[in-house]
Symmetry: C2
Subunit: 345 residues, 2 copies
DNA sequence: CAATTAAATGAAATCGGTTTCATTGAATAT
DNA sequence: ATATTCAATGAAACCGATTTCATTTAATTG
């Protein structure tokens, strides 16, 4: 048997008052006479009593808890974002449930149910599928049902058919800046590496890439747009494909910095110098981008602003205030040493 | 006003049964006639009803929830460990609260209270101070009181005066392997860089370093043992100190891989080649260690085993089973290219 | 000092489930 | 067909806090 918990009744009894009065001391919602207060506080401290927040939440119908659903906490982008968001949520009095889905729809579904049952006040969803596979559609339906009762904010992603509040990085202008940078550096043959079809942020980036390239009068060679994942390993794989191309681009935009790192690693290994032989740029400005040689030119995500805005929107929704349906967080270009002016050999 | 929740009473009414029967369907704890079952399940699905786990937890006195207290989720060591642990905890039916303290005692205390109030069934504490500052001692006292009612497992750390269950990496033998490796590579002048005095894992490593060096008949130059933090930036700082030494070691052991990366980066920048001029080894085998050039020789932490064991011990404690007081997880040496045979120039 | 007003405290209902115990209904045995 | 047994269901208590409303106590005024 579990050791008996100390409850507000025990405290009340020992202090010769009613539970109501103890509660008033705990919450500060009403005055108690100083001498009564002292008595009660003494007993509370004697037993190191902490009120059971489950009971409180049950009554108040709010748990002061936010759930995070994300693909992989091990990815620097997510860990940084979560860290910032969590710290800010704490300031607002919310603690956070972490749900690592490992990109597994089944896990997502399991976690989503769990968060609902745990009565989280709101959910931050990092990621976003726009696939139309059966499981994904099912999951989208589930999400919609959840959203009828629990506010959800999507960060840097969306889900097809789900009309949610979104806070997102301006990936379009980010990619645009990268393309323009490379064009200004005299590159004409540019590729896009990494990411995964059906993940919304990848799709946004790729579409923007294609659009800008066409606007600038440079076509896009289909063979230069290569899917992969989001990790260093994905970058390594896609770099291998890159190497086997008959005609290669002179510059590549990677779906994120980890992919860029993988690409640089493999290119270097096979004797291609970055940036001398190939220019490589990334996205996210994870903390590694500035440390990994040669220093990766990338687009900086404003983690603080992204996280805080997401939490703010969510908390507004929780409190049934109006909230902007879509907030776009600006980015900035971070110039480092992984790309340079192209010149024919 | 919040939209009214659907409760088991609503379901019961609509299905023309008592709440007790609905509960039996939900939990599976007792039989109900198939036709009754069907009726109830239909109503549950119609309203997409999920039972409020707060109410259940309140009654059962267990929340099926585990709290993680850790310094910084943004550090690959922690994010990897958390990811593994969390996945395993989920298998056992537990969800996890994440608490990022950012090494701030005040935050730790706040989070600790919050976890207790939220009635977590147990706590995994990653980190560990053995300082004797006032706030740290206060915090240790707090921890002890929490441990009277809530099981806590310390992972790779301890707290002075706190007698807790510990699951830890065999940092001693890890450091020993590193020292022996370097000695076998003919290094005699070896330094230890990074970490922070008073953090238990640092202290363990440093003490082992000093002991082994003395056992091997090589003294330790105090000036070659330099404190710093645990990040790449810490490595950069401490590398700057290293560079300003009149006499430098020919090899350094870093408190972890991130520090090693920072060190390598700065040494390289100032014209010292790793491993040609200085051998550098790390600890943890974070995913970056193999990717960061030249590839860091390091000690591999067994993240899966560490995480699973910690969860297992914690769950045993929760269920009031006996559990080993201290479990030591073996390490292994991972040879890469950041160190080599020393030879006089 | 009594009467009135204001402040402090207590009693009881409530949140939404689960579970025990009692009861009803169905199934089996006589 | 009736008595007996067993399965299915319902009523009510419970978990531990908060809050409203009623009541007691203290403070103020005449």
């Amino acid at each position: 048997m579990k050791k008996e918990n100390i409850t507000i009744y025990d405290i009340a009894k020992e202090a010769n008052v009613s539970p109501a009065t103890v509660s008033r001391v705990l919450t500060g919602n009403a005055k108690v006479r100083p001498q009564t207060m002292r008595k009660i506080v003494d007993v509370i401290e004697k037993y190191n009593f902490r009120p059971n927040s489950l009971a409180r939440s049950l009554l108040h119908k709010q748990s002061k808890t936010i759930g995070f659903i994300l693909p992989d906490i091990n990815h620097p982008f997510f860990s940084t974002l979560v860290q910032k968001s969590e710290a800010y949520a704490l300031e607002l009095g919310y603690t956070t449930f972490l749900c690592n889905t490992m990109n597994n729809s089944e896990n997502e579904s399991k976690y989503l149910q769990s968060l609902v049952e745990k009565q989280v006040d709101g959910i931050i969803y990092l990621g976003g599928r726009i696939n139309d596979t059966d499981t994904d559609q099912e999951y989208a339906e589930e999400m919609k049902k959840v959203m009828e009762r629990t506010p959800v904010v999507f960060v840097n992603g969306q889900m097809s058919g789900v009309d949610a509040h979104i806070v997102r990085t301006d990936e379009e202008s980010g990619v645009e800046m990268l393309v323009e940078l490379l064009i200004n550096l005299n590159h004409k043959k540019i590729g896009f590496l990494g990411g995964l079809e059906g993940i919304s942020s990848t799709d946004v980036k790729k579409n923007t890439f294609v659009n800008v390239m066409e606007t600038k009068g440079l076509g896009v060679n289909k063979g230069w747009v290569l899917d992969a994942g989001f990790s260093i390993e994905s970058g390594e794989e896609v770099a291998a494909q890159f190497l086997s191309l008959k005609e290669r681009p002179t510059a590549v935009i990677c779906a994120n910095d980890l992919v860029a790192i993988g690409v640089i690693k493999v290119l270097t290994k096979f004797g291609l110098k970055v940036p001398d032989d190939v220019s490589v740029v990334g996205f996210d400005d994870i903390y590694l981008a500035k440390h990994f040689p040669p220093g990766i030119t990338t687009i900086s995500q404003n983690y603080d602003q992204l996280g805080q805005t997401a939490i703010n929107v969510l908390v507004d929704l929780i409190n049934e205030k109006e909230a902007k349906k879509e907030t776009v967080i600006p980015t900035s270009l971070v110039l480092r040493d992984s790309c340079k002016l192209f010149s024919e050999k």
